[in-house]
C-alpha cells in the first residue's frame, strides 16, 4: 500500500495505491497519521488504485472520518472500485463517509 499526500489550497489530496490488510495496516495507520491533525481537515481520497480492504482498513477510514468531523472538516472518497465499494455498502460505511 502506497499513500501519496499532496496539499492543495485548503484541502489535502490523498492517493491510495494497493491493498490494506492485516499485514500492512500498521504501516497504513502510520502513513495517514498526518491527516489526523492540522487546521485544514478537508480530505479527498482517490481510491482508483485501492484494490482491497479488510475490516482493518475500514477501522482506519472510520478513525480518519471521526478525526475530520471532530475538526469540522469533510472527507470524500472518490473513484472507488466496485468490489471495494461493496465492502463499504455492506458495512454501512457508505452512509457515514461520502463516496463520489
Amino acid at each position: 500500500m502506497e499513500v501519496t499526500i499532496n496539499k492543495q489550497d485548503n484541502k489535502t489530496l490523498v492517493s491510495l495505491n494497493g491493498r490494506i490488510d492485516t499485514s500492512n495496516v500498521e504501516k497504513f495507520q502510520h502513513d495517514i497519521e498526518p491527516l489526523m491533525q492540522g487546521d485544514n481537515p478537508d480530505i479527498v481520497l482517490d481510491c482508483s488504485n485501492l484494490t482491497y480492504t479488510s475490516s482493518q482498513g475500514l477501522r482506519m477510514f472510520l478513525m480518519l472520518q471521526k478525526s475530520v468531523l471532530a475538526r469540522s472538516g469533510k472527507m470524500v472518497m472518490t473513484n472507488m472500485r466496485p468490489q471495494v465499494k461493496e465492502v463499504f455498502d455492506i458495512t454501512g460505511f457508505s452512509n457515514i463517509i461520502t463516496i463520489l
Partner: protein, 135 residues
C-alpha cells in the same frame, strides 16, 4: 480436502491466507476470490488475535468442494480458548460516524460475503466452517 496446520501468529497470517487462496478448490474468478480472501482474512485474523491469548498453538485450515451443485467449504480448526465468534452481536450499521464503534466488523463481513458460516466446539477444538455455492 486440502488442509495444513500453522502456528497462528501475526507474522504467519499472510502465509495462511495464501495457502487457502492457492488451493485448487478456489475458482479462478476475481470477484469471487475477493469475497473469499476477505472472509478468510477476517476468520484467520480472529484466531490469530484471540485463540491462544498470545501463547503457542495451532490453526488447521482447509478447503473442500462437495456435490453436483458444487459448494466450496473453508474450515478453520484450533485448540485455543473456547470462543464462538458468531455469538457477537452484529454492528449497528445505521449509526452515524461519531456513534460507530471502531471494530466488530470482521466476522460480520464473513457472514455477508459467504453463503453460510457456522461454529461448533468439537473434541476441545473451535471449528469454524464457511461455505459458498459455486456457479
Amino acid at each position: 480436502m486440502t488442509k495444513k496446520r500453522f502456528n497462528p501468529i501475526k507474522d504467519k497470517s499472510s502465509e495462511i491466507i495464501e495457502f487457502l487462496m492457492s488451493s485448487p478448490d478456489i475458482p479462478d474468478d476475481d470477484a469471487l476470490q475477493f469475497k473469499l480472501r476477505l472472509s478468510i482474512e477476517e476468520a484467520v485474523d480472529n484466531v490469530v488475535r484471540y485463540a491462544y491469548d498470545g501463547g503457542i498453538g495451532w490453526l488447521e485450515v482447509g478447503t473442500n468442494i462437495d456435490g453436483a451443485n458444487p459448494v466450496l467449504t473453508i474450515e478453520l480448526r484450533d485448540a485455543g480458548i473456547k470462543f464462538n465468534p458468531l455469538d457477537h452481536e452484529d454492528p449497528d450499521i445505521s449509526l452515524n460516524a461519531e456513534e460507530r464503534q471502531i471494530g466488530g466488523l470482521g466476522i460480520f463481513l464473513c457472514k455477508k460475503m459467504m453463503d453460510s458460516i457456522s461454529y461448533r466446539y468439537e473434541d476441545g477444538n473451535n471449528v469454524l466452517t464457511m461455505t459458498k455455492k459455486l456457479n
